[in-house]
Protein backbone atom coordinates (compact mmCIF):
# COMPACT_ATOMS: atom_id res chain seq x y z
CA UNK A 1 0.00 0.00 0.00
CA UNK A 2 1.30 3.45 -0.76
CA UNK A 3 2.02 6.11 1.86
CA UNK A 4 -0.93 8.32 0.86
CA UNK A 5 -3.23 5.34 1.45
CA UNK A 6 -1.74 4.78 4.89
CA UNK A 7 -2.12 8.46 5.67
CA UNK A 8 -5.79 8.44 4.71
CA UNK A 9 -6.46 5.36 6.81
CA UNK A 10 -4.71 7.04 9.73
CA UNK A 11 -6.87 10.11 9.38
CA UNK A 12 -10.09 8.12 9.05
CA UNK A 13 -9.21 6.01 12.11
CA UNK A 14 -8.46 9.21 14.02
CA UNK A 15 -11.89 10.62 13.15
CA UNK A 16 -13.64 7.33 13.96
CA UNK A 17 -11.85 7.17 17.32
CA UNK A 18 -12.99 10.67 18.26
CA UNK A 19 -16.58 9.85 17.36
CA UNK A 20 -16.52 6.79 19.63
CA UNK A 21 -15.18 8.69 22.65
CA UNK A 22 -16.60 7.87 26.03
CA UNK A 23 -17.83 10.49 28.48
CA UNK A 24 -15.28 10.24 31.25
CA UNK A 25 -15.19 11.73 34.77
CA UNK A 26 -12.56 11.65 37.52
CA UNK A 27 -13.71 10.09 40.79
CA UNK A 28 -12.57 9.63 44.39
CA UNK A 29 -14.12 7.71 47.24
CA UNK A 30 -17.49 9.10 48.44
CA UNK A 31 -15.89 9.29 51.89
CA UNK A 32 -12.96 11.41 50.71
CA UNK A 33 -12.63 15.00 51.88
CA UNK A 34 -11.72 16.03 48.32
CA UNK A 35 -14.69 17.62 46.56
CA UNK A 36 -13.28 19.12 43.38
CA UNK A 37 -9.99 19.33 41.52
CA UNK A 38 -8.72 21.73 38.90
CA UNK A 39 -7.43 20.45 35.59
CA UNK A 40 -3.84 21.24 36.61
CA UNK A 41 -4.16 19.51 40.00
CA UNK A 42 -5.53 16.41 38.33
CA UNK A 43 -2.84 16.57 35.65
CA UNK A 44 -0.10 16.83 38.28
CA UNK A 45 -1.44 13.78 40.11
CA UNK A 46 -1.81 11.61 36.99
CA UNK A 47 1.50 12.71 35.49
CA UNK A 48 3.36 11.94 38.73
CA UNK A 49 4.21 15.57 39.54
CA UNK A 50 2.21 15.55 42.77
CA UNK A 51 1.37 12.74 45.12
CA UNK A 52 -0.95 14.64 47.41
CA UNK A 53 -4.26 16.43 47.09
CA UNK A 54 -4.27 20.16 47.81
CA UNK A 55 -5.35 19.49 51.42
CA UNK A 56 -2.13 17.51 51.94
CA UNK A 57 -3.64 14.02 52.06
CA UNK A 58 -1.98 11.36 49.88
CA UNK A 59 -3.28 10.82 46.34
CA UNK A 60 -2.96 7.41 44.66
CA UNK A 61 -3.88 7.61 40.95
CA UNK A 62 -5.21 4.61 39.04
CA UNK A 63 -4.99 4.30 35.26
CA UNK A 64 -7.24 2.21 33.07
CA UNK A 65 -5.85 -0.28 30.56
CA UNK A 66 -3.76 1.04 27.67
CA UNK A 67 -5.83 1.25 24.52
CA UNK A 68 -9.15 1.54 26.38
CA UNK A 69 -11.52 4.24 25.11
CA UNK A 70 -12.00 5.66 28.61
CA UNK A 71 -8.25 6.12 29.11
CA UNK A 72 -7.72 7.77 25.72
CA UNK A 73 -10.67 10.08 26.38
CA UNK A 74 -9.43 10.97 29.87
CA UNK A 75 -6.02 12.16 28.69
CA UNK A 76 -7.46 13.82 25.64
CA UNK A 77 -9.93 15.77 27.81
CA UNK A 78 -7.46 16.47 30.61
CA UNK A 79 -4.31 17.30 28.72
CA UNK A 80 -5.27 17.33 25.05
CA UNK A 81 -2.80 14.47 24.63
CA UNK A 82 -3.06 11.28 22.64
CA UNK A 83 -2.15 7.88 24.04
CA UNK A 84 1.19 8.06 22.19
CA UNK A 85 2.00 11.43 23.74
CA UNK A 86 1.26 10.16 27.25
CA UNK A 87 3.41 7.11 26.52
CA UNK A 88 6.23 9.38 25.33
CA UNK A 89 5.85 11.49 28.47
CA UNK A 90 6.15 8.46 30.74
CA UNK A 91 9.11 7.15 28.77
CA UNK A 92 10.92 10.32 29.76
CA UNK A 93 10.07 9.86 33.45
CA UNK A 94 10.71 6.12 33.58
CA UNK A 95 14.08 6.17 31.83
CA UNK A 96 15.44 8.92 34.00
CA UNK A 97 14.62 6.83 37.06
CA UNK A 98 12.18 9.46 38.29
CA UNK A 99 9.10 7.34 38.58
CA UNK A 100 6.64 4.88 37.15
CA UNK A 101 3.19 5.51 35.69
CA UNK A 102 0.11 4.83 37.87
CA UNK A 103 -0.86 1.16 38.19
CA UNK A 104 -3.51 0.10 35.68
CA UNK A 105 -6.82 -1.52 36.49
CA UNK A 106 -8.87 -3.32 33.83
CA UNK A 107 -12.26 -1.52 33.91
CA UNK A 108 -14.68 0.92 35.59
CA UNK A 109 -15.94 -1.68 38.09
CA UNK A 110 -12.40 -2.47 39.19
CA UNK A 111 -11.59 1.26 39.55
CA UNK A 112 -14.60 1.68 41.87
CA UNK A 113 -13.58 -1.41 43.86
CA UNK A 114 -10.07 -0.07 44.38
CA UNK A 115 -11.43 3.37 45.33
CA UNK A 116 -13.78 1.82 47.91
CA UNK A 117 -10.84 -0.07 49.40
CA UNK A 118 -8.50 2.94 49.49
CA UNK A 119 -9.79 6.44 50.34
CA UNK A 120 -6.59 7.96 48.88
CA UNK A 121 -7.25 6.45 45.45
CA UNK A 122 -8.35 8.56 42.48
CA UNK A 123 -9.43 7.17 39.13
CA UNK A 124 -11.54 7.91 36.09
CA UNK A 125 -14.58 6.07 34.79
CA UNK A 126 -17.35 6.47 32.28
CA UNK A 127 -20.03 8.85 33.57
CA UNK A 128 -22.63 6.07 33.26
CA UNK A 129 -20.70 3.97 35.81
CA UNK A 130 -20.87 6.63 38.56
CA UNK A 131 -22.72 5.41 41.68
CA UNK A 132 -23.01 6.23 45.42
CA UNK A 133 -19.61 4.76 46.26
CA UNK A 134 -17.70 7.47 44.38
CA UNK A 135 -17.67 11.24 44.09
CA UNK A 136 -17.05 13.02 40.80
CA UNK A 137 -14.27 15.61 41.23
CA UNK A 138 -13.72 16.55 37.58
CA UNK A 139 -16.19 16.61 34.70
CA UNK A 140 -13.94 17.73 31.95
CA UNK A 141 -14.22 21.48 32.52
CA UNK A 142 -12.66 23.63 35.20
Amino acid sequence: MNRIGLLLIGLVCGIAASAAMADVVAVVSAGSAVTTLSRNQLLDIFLGRANRFSDGTPAVPLDQAEGSAVRDEFYSKLAGQTAAQIKAYWSKIIFTGRGQPPPTVPNDVEVKKRIRANPAAIGYIDRSAVDDSVRVVFWGQD
Binding site: Q81, A84, S91, K92, T96, G97
Partner: protein, 383 residues
Protein backbone atom coordinates in the same frame (compact mmCIF):
# COMPACT_ATOMS: atom_id res chain seq x y z
CA UNK B 1 9.06 -4.66 43.80
CA UNK B 2 11.16 -4.90 40.61
CA UNK B 3 10.14 -3.11 37.43
CA UNK B 4 11.88 -3.80 34.13
CA UNK B 5 11.72 -1.34 31.23
CA UNK B 6 13.58 -1.15 27.96
CA UNK B 7 13.93 1.26 25.08
CA UNK B 8 15.82 1.52 21.87
CA UNK B 9 16.24 3.02 18.45
CA UNK B 10 17.25 1.61 15.10
CA UNK B 11 18.36 4.37 12.82
CA UNK B 12 20.20 4.95 9.59
CA UNK B 13 21.84 8.18 8.52
CA UNK B 14 23.23 9.37 5.19
CA UNK B 15 25.34 12.48 4.73
CA UNK B 16 25.86 14.35 1.45
CA UNK B 17 29.51 14.97 2.38
CA UNK B 18 31.70 11.90 1.90
CA UNK B 19 34.83 13.77 3.05
CA UNK B 20 33.84 13.95 6.74
CA UNK B 21 31.72 12.13 9.30
CA UNK B 22 28.52 13.25 10.95
CA UNK B 23 27.31 11.69 14.19
CA UNK B 24 25.19 12.37 17.26
CA UNK B 25 27.83 12.58 19.99
CA UNK B 26 31.52 13.46 20.21
CA UNK B 27 32.14 10.18 22.03
CA UNK B 28 31.67 8.27 18.76
CA UNK B 29 34.66 7.44 16.53
CA UNK B 30 32.90 7.55 13.14
CA UNK B 31 29.56 8.20 11.54
CA UNK B 32 27.80 8.87 8.25
CA UNK B 33 29.70 10.42 5.35
CA UNK B 34 33.30 9.29 5.19
CA UNK B 35 33.17 6.26 7.52
CA UNK B 36 29.95 4.85 6.07
CA UNK B 37 27.72 6.00 3.26
CA UNK B 38 24.77 4.89 5.41
CA UNK B 39 25.57 4.62 9.11
CA UNK B 40 23.51 2.76 11.69
CA UNK B 41 25.90 3.89 14.44
CA UNK B 42 24.65 7.47 14.72
CA UNK B 43 21.30 6.86 16.42
CA UNK B 44 20.96 3.11 17.11
CA UNK B 45 21.01 1.98 20.71
CA UNK B 46 19.36 -0.34 23.18
CA UNK B 47 18.73 0.47 26.81
CA UNK B 48 17.47 -1.68 29.67
CA UNK B 49 16.52 -0.53 33.12
CA UNK B 50 15.75 -2.27 36.36
CA UNK B 51 14.06 -0.34 39.16
CA UNK B 52 13.83 -1.79 42.66
CA UNK B 53 11.24 -0.26 44.96
CA UNK B 54 12.49 -1.43 48.34
CA UNK B 55 10.01 0.65 50.32
CA UNK B 56 7.95 3.76 49.75
CA UNK B 57 11.05 5.74 50.72
CA UNK B 58 13.89 3.71 49.27
CA UNK B 59 14.41 2.77 45.64
CA UNK B 60 17.28 1.93 43.33
CA UNK B 61 17.67 2.12 39.56
CA UNK B 62 20.22 0.70 37.15
CA UNK B 63 20.19 1.52 33.45
CA UNK B 64 22.50 -0.05 30.90
CA UNK B 65 22.86 1.29 27.37
CA UNK B 66 24.45 -0.44 24.43
CA UNK B 67 25.47 1.95 21.65
CA UNK B 68 28.55 2.66 19.60
CA UNK B 69 31.19 3.88 22.05
CA UNK B 70 34.56 5.63 21.67
CA UNK B 71 36.26 2.34 20.76
CA UNK B 72 33.62 1.36 18.17
CA UNK B 73 32.25 -1.33 20.47
CA UNK B 74 28.63 -1.84 21.56
CA UNK B 75 29.67 -2.99 25.02
CA UNK B 76 26.87 -1.97 27.44
CA UNK B 77 27.70 0.96 29.69
CA UNK B 78 26.10 1.95 32.97
CA UNK B 79 24.14 5.11 32.18
CA UNK B 80 22.71 5.46 35.67
CA UNK B 81 23.01 3.41 38.84
CA UNK B 82 21.77 5.13 41.94
CA UNK B 83 19.91 4.74 45.18
CA UNK B 84 17.16 7.20 46.00
CA UNK B 85 15.89 7.97 49.46
CA UNK B 86 12.67 9.92 49.69
CA UNK B 87 12.67 11.90 52.96
CA UNK B 88 9.22 13.29 52.16
CA UNK B 89 7.14 13.08 48.97
CA UNK B 90 8.73 16.41 47.99
CA UNK B 91 12.32 15.93 49.07
CA UNK B 92 14.77 13.24 48.02
CA UNK B 93 18.45 12.42 47.78
CA UNK B 94 20.13 10.24 45.16
CA UNK B 95 23.59 8.77 45.43
CA UNK B 96 25.52 7.01 42.68
CA UNK B 97 25.62 7.61 38.94
CA UNK B 98 22.89 10.15 38.40
CA UNK B 99 21.58 12.05 35.42
CA UNK B 100 22.48 15.70 35.03
CA UNK B 101 19.53 17.26 33.20
CA UNK B 102 21.18 20.54 32.19
CA UNK B 103 18.99 20.83 29.10
CA UNK B 104 15.26 20.28 28.68
CA UNK B 105 15.54 16.71 27.39
CA UNK B 106 19.14 15.87 28.29
CA UNK B 107 18.10 13.13 30.71
CA UNK B 108 15.95 11.47 28.04
CA UNK B 109 17.99 12.42 24.98
CA UNK B 110 18.84 8.78 24.30
CA UNK B 111 15.20 7.67 24.51
CA UNK B 112 14.08 8.43 20.97
CA UNK B 113 10.46 7.54 21.74
CA UNK B 114 10.32 10.31 24.36
CA UNK B 115 11.35 13.00 21.87
CA UNK B 116 9.75 14.52 18.80
CA UNK B 117 12.97 14.48 16.72
CA UNK B 118 15.31 11.75 15.50
CA UNK B 119 17.85 13.30 17.91
CA UNK B 120 17.97 16.50 19.95
CA UNK B 121 19.68 19.34 18.01
CA UNK B 122 23.46 18.76 18.12
CA UNK B 123 24.08 22.52 18.25
CA UNK B 124 22.90 22.44 21.88
CA UNK B 125 23.04 18.81 22.96
CA UNK B 126 26.41 18.19 21.32
CA UNK B 127 28.03 21.12 23.12
CA UNK B 128 29.12 18.96 26.03
CA UNK B 129 29.16 15.18 26.40
CA UNK B 130 28.36 15.53 30.11
CA UNK B 131 24.97 13.99 30.84
CA UNK B 132 25.57 12.19 34.09
CA UNK B 133 27.83 12.34 37.11
CA UNK B 134 29.07 10.09 39.86
CA UNK B 135 28.00 11.83 43.02
CA UNK B 136 24.84 12.87 44.78
CA UNK B 137 21.93 15.15 44.23
CA UNK B 138 19.22 16.67 46.35
CA UNK B 139 15.88 17.46 44.85
CA UNK B 140 13.06 19.48 46.33
CA UNK B 141 9.65 19.88 44.75
CA UNK B 142 7.61 22.93 45.55
CA UNK B 143 3.92 23.38 44.76
CA UNK B 144 2.83 26.98 44.48
CA UNK B 145 -0.73 27.33 43.29
CA UNK B 146 -0.90 25.41 40.03
CA UNK B 147 2.85 25.46 39.40
CA UNK B 148 5.26 22.73 40.36
CA UNK B 149 8.88 23.78 40.74
CA UNK B 150 11.71 21.30 41.21
CA UNK B 151 14.99 22.54 42.62
CA UNK B 152 17.91 20.17 42.25
CA UNK B 153 21.50 20.55 43.37
CA UNK B 154 24.15 18.01 42.52
CA UNK B 155 27.82 17.46 43.19
CA UNK B 156 30.38 15.01 41.88
CA UNK B 157 34.05 14.81 42.80
CA UNK B 158 35.10 13.73 39.34
CA UNK B 159 33.72 12.29 36.16
CA UNK B 160 35.66 10.87 33.25
CA UNK B 161 34.51 10.46 29.67
CA UNK B 162 36.40 8.34 27.15
CA UNK B 163 36.70 9.90 23.72
CA UNK B 164 37.90 8.52 20.38
CA UNK B 165 41.61 8.60 19.41
CA UNK B 166 42.67 7.67 22.96
CA UNK B 167 41.57 11.01 24.37
CA UNK B 168 39.57 11.33 27.55
CA UNK B 169 38.19 14.25 29.47
CA UNK B 170 38.00 14.52 33.21
CA UNK B 171 35.76 16.93 35.07
CA UNK B 172 36.48 17.61 38.71
CA UNK B 173 34.24 19.22 41.33
CA UNK B 174 31.17 19.16 39.13
CA UNK B 175 28.49 21.28 40.82
CA UNK B 176 25.15 21.90 39.22
CA UNK B 177 21.97 23.74 40.10
CA UNK B 178 18.81 23.04 38.12
CA UNK B 179 15.42 24.71 38.42
CA UNK B 180 12.48 23.29 36.55
CA UNK B 181 8.99 24.78 36.65
CA UNK B 182 5.90 23.13 35.22
CA UNK B 183 2.65 24.97 34.75
CA UNK B 184 0.03 23.00 32.88
CA UNK B 185 1.42 22.50 29.38
CA UNK B 186 4.37 24.84 29.93
CA UNK B 187 7.81 23.82 31.15
CA UNK B 188 10.72 26.09 32.03
CA UNK B 189 14.24 24.90 32.75
CA UNK B 190 17.22 26.85 34.06
CA UNK B 191 20.56 25.27 34.88
CA UNK B 192 24.05 26.26 35.86
CA UNK B 193 27.10 24.03 36.16
CA UNK B 194 30.70 24.61 37.10
CA UNK B 195 33.55 22.12 36.94
CA UNK B 196 37.27 21.93 36.30
CA UNK B 197 38.11 20.11 33.12
CA UNK B 198 41.25 18.40 31.89
CA UNK B 199 41.86 16.76 28.52
CA UNK B 200 44.16 13.72 28.45
CA UNK B 201 46.71 13.40 26.99
CA UNK B 202 47.97 16.98 26.69
CA UNK B 203 47.86 18.18 23.10
CA UNK B 204 51.41 18.05 21.66
CA UNK B 205 51.18 21.63 20.46
CA UNK B 206 50.98 22.92 24.04
CA UNK B 207 53.98 20.83 25.18
CA UNK B 208 55.91 22.43 22.30
CA UNK B 209 54.84 25.95 23.36
CA UNK B 210 56.26 25.25 26.82
CA UNK B 211 59.69 24.89 25.18
CA UNK B 212 59.54 28.60 24.35
CA UNK B 213 59.74 29.60 28.01
CA UNK B 214 57.57 32.27 29.66
CA UNK B 215 55.88 33.60 26.46
CA UNK B 216 54.97 30.01 25.53
CA UNK B 217 53.71 29.28 29.05
CA UNK B 218 51.36 32.25 28.76
CA UNK B 219 49.83 30.71 25.61
CA UNK B 220 49.41 27.34 27.35
CA UNK B 221 47.80 29.04 30.36
CA UNK B 222 45.29 30.69 28.04
CA UNK B 223 44.52 27.84 25.63
CA UNK B 224 45.66 24.61 27.32
CA UNK B 225 43.02 22.31 28.76
CA UNK B 226 44.41 21.32 32.13
CA UNK B 227 42.22 21.93 35.16
CA UNK B 228 40.31 24.75 33.46
CA UNK B 229 37.12 26.21 34.83
CA UNK B 230 34.10 25.23 32.74
CA UNK B 231 30.70 26.78 33.17
CA UNK B 232 27.47 25.88 31.47
CA UNK B 233 24.44 28.09 31.66
CA UNK B 234 21.27 26.94 30.02
CA UNK B 235 17.68 28.14 29.71
CA UNK B 236 14.87 26.26 28.04
CA UNK B 237 11.14 26.54 27.56
CA UNK B 238 8.61 24.24 26.02
CA UNK B 239 4.88 24.48 25.52
CA UNK B 240 2.88 21.43 24.57
CA UNK B 241 -0.90 21.83 24.76
CA UNK B 242 -1.34 18.56 22.84
CA UNK B 243 -2.30 19.59 19.32
CA UNK B 244 1.08 21.23 18.72
CA UNK B 245 4.31 21.92 20.53
CA UNK B 246 6.92 24.65 20.57
CA UNK B 247 10.24 24.55 22.33
CA UNK B 248 13.37 26.69 22.51
CA UNK B 249 16.65 26.43 24.36
CA UNK B 250 19.72 28.56 24.73
CA UNK B 251 22.99 27.49 26.26
CA UNK B 252 26.43 28.91 26.85
CA UNK B 253 29.35 26.59 27.50
CA UNK B 254 32.45 28.49 28.49
CA UNK B 255 35.79 26.82 29.06
CA UNK B 256 38.92 28.88 29.62
CA UNK B 257 40.95 27.02 27.01
CA UNK B 258 41.02 26.57 23.23
CA UNK B 259 37.43 25.28 23.65
CA UNK B 260 36.46 28.86 24.44
CA UNK B 261 33.00 30.31 24.57
CA UNK B 262 30.36 28.16 22.83
CA UNK B 263 26.78 29.31 22.43
CA UNK B 264 24.04 27.12 21.07
CA UNK B 265 20.33 27.67 20.70
CA UNK B 266 17.40 26.29 18.81
CA UNK B 267 13.71 26.78 18.25
CA UNK B 268 11.50 23.91 17.22
CA UNK B 269 7.82 23.35 16.70
CA UNK B 270 5.49 20.70 15.45
CA UNK B 271 1.83 20.08 14.72
CA UNK B 272 -0.01 16.84 15.38
CA UNK B 273 -2.31 15.39 12.72
CA UNK B 274 -3.71 12.09 14.00
CA UNK B 275 -0.63 9.88 14.40
CA UNK B 276 1.69 12.14 12.44
CA UNK B 277 3.75 14.95 13.93
CA UNK B 278 5.62 17.01 11.34
CA UNK B 279 8.16 19.38 12.86
CA UNK B 280 10.68 22.09 11.97
CA UNK B 281 13.82 23.06 13.86
CA UNK B 282 16.31 25.88 13.44
CA UNK B 283 19.50 25.60 15.46
CA UNK B 284 22.72 27.58 15.70
CA UNK B 285 26.11 27.02 17.29
CA UNK B 286 28.68 29.81 17.51
CA UNK B 287 32.17 29.75 19.02
CA UNK B 288 34.81 32.26 19.99
CA UNK B 289 37.69 32.92 19.81
CA UNK B 290 38.42 31.51 16.36
CA UNK B 291 41.91 32.98 16.08
CA UNK B 292 44.84 34.13 18.20
CA UNK B 293 47.89 36.35 17.73
CA UNK B 294 49.80 33.49 19.37
CA UNK B 295 53.21 33.96 20.89
CA UNK B 296 55.08 37.14 19.94
CA UNK B 297 58.05 35.94 17.86
CA UNK B 298 59.79 39.31 18.35
CA UNK B 299 60.07 38.58 22.08
CA UNK B 300 61.94 35.37 21.37
CA UNK B 301 65.53 34.69 20.24
CA UNK B 302 65.79 34.87 16.45
CA UNK B 303 66.48 31.15 16.04
CA UNK B 304 63.03 30.36 17.57
CA UNK B 305 61.09 32.60 15.18
CA UNK B 306 60.37 29.76 12.76
CA UNK B 307 59.20 27.44 15.55
CA UNK B 308 56.98 30.19 17.01
CA UNK B 309 55.38 30.87 13.61
CA UNK B 310 54.72 27.15 13.08
CA UNK B 311 53.18 26.77 16.55
CA UNK B 312 51.04 29.88 16.08
CA UNK B 313 49.79 28.44 12.79
CA UNK B 314 48.92 25.20 14.62
CA UNK B 315 47.07 27.09 17.36
CA UNK B 316 45.10 29.09 14.80
CA UNK B 317 44.21 25.89 12.99
CA UNK B 318 42.76 24.45 16.22
CA UNK B 319 40.86 27.67 16.99
CA UNK B 320 39.70 28.14 13.40
CA UNK B 321 38.30 24.63 13.29
CA UNK B 322 36.10 24.97 16.36
CA UNK B 323 32.56 23.86 15.49
CA UNK B 324 30.31 26.66 14.27
CA UNK B 325 27.23 25.86 12.23
CA UNK B 326 23.53 26.40 11.76
CA UNK B 327 20.93 23.89 10.71
CA UNK B 328 17.45 23.95 9.22
CA UNK B 329 15.77 20.64 9.93
CA UNK B 330 12.41 19.24 8.89
CA UNK B 331 11.02 15.92 9.89
CA UNK B 332 8.00 13.86 10.79
CA UNK B 333 7.24 11.43 13.58
CA UNK B 334 4.69 8.70 12.87
CA UNK B 335 3.28 6.85 15.90
CA UNK B 336 2.33 3.75 13.94
CA UNK B 337 1.88 1.40 16.92
CA UNK B 338 1.41 1.72 20.67
CA UNK B 339 5.10 1.36 21.56
CA UNK B 340 6.70 2.27 18.25
CA UNK B 341 7.35 5.34 16.18
CA UNK B 342 9.03 5.97 12.86
CA UNK B 343 10.83 9.23 12.17
CA UNK B 344 12.26 10.75 9.03
CA UNK B 345 14.37 13.90 9.24
CA UNK B 346 16.37 16.05 6.85
CA UNK B 347 19.00 18.47 8.16
CA UNK B 348 20.47 21.18 5.98
CA UNK B 349 23.57 22.48 7.73
CA UNK B 350 25.61 25.55 6.85
CA UNK B 351 29.08 25.28 8.39
CA UNK B 352 30.56 28.44 9.92
CA UNK B 353 33.17 30.37 7.87
CA UNK B 354 36.29 28.18 7.66
CA UNK B 355 34.77 25.75 10.16
CA UNK B 356 34.08 22.03 9.83
CA UNK B 357 31.08 22.47 12.16
CA UNK B 358 30.35 19.33 14.16
CA UNK B 359 31.79 17.19 11.34
CA UNK B 360 34.96 15.20 12.06
CA UNK B 361 37.31 12.64 10.49
CA UNK B 362 37.98 15.36 7.91
CA UNK B 363 39.54 14.16 4.64
CA UNK B 364 41.79 16.11 2.24
CA UNK B 365 38.89 16.89 -0.10
CA UNK B 366 36.76 18.41 2.67
CA UNK B 367 35.39 21.95 2.17
CA UNK B 368 35.50 24.02 5.32
CA UNK B 369 32.59 26.40 5.65
CA UNK B 370 30.46 24.49 3.14
CA UNK B 371 27.00 23.01 3.40
CA UNK B 372 25.93 19.47 4.12
CA UNK B 373 22.61 17.64 3.98
CA UNK B 374 21.88 14.81 6.40
CA UNK B 375 19.07 12.31 5.90
CA UNK B 376 17.98 10.28 8.94
CA UNK B 377 15.38 7.58 9.49
CA UNK B 378 14.77 5.87 12.82
CA UNK B 379 12.37 3.50 14.52
CA UNK B 380 12.06 4.01 18.28
CA UNK B 381 10.50 1.63 20.76
CA UNK B 382 9.77 1.32 24.47
CA UNK B 383 8.49 -1.60 26.50
Amino acid sequence: MFVFNAFGSLGVVHSSDSQADFTSSNTKPDGAGYGHSWSANVDSRFGAQLTANVSSQLSAVVQLISEQDYSNSYRPEVEWANIKYQFTPEFDIRIGRIDLPLFLVSDARKVGFANPWVRPPVEVYGITPISNSDGLDLSYRLHLGDTTTTLAASYARSYRIDLPLHFSSESRDVSALIVKTEYGAALFNLSYLTSHATLYPTIGLFSAYRELGAPGDAIVDTYGLVDKLSTIFSAGVSYDPGKWFATAEWTQFDNRSFIGDNRGWYVSGGYRIANLTPYLTYSVLTVSPTSSAGVDAAALPAYLAGTAAALNAGLNQILGQRPAQRTDAAGVRWDFARNLDLKIQIDHTQLGPGSPGKLFNLQPGFHFGGTVNIFSAAIDFVF
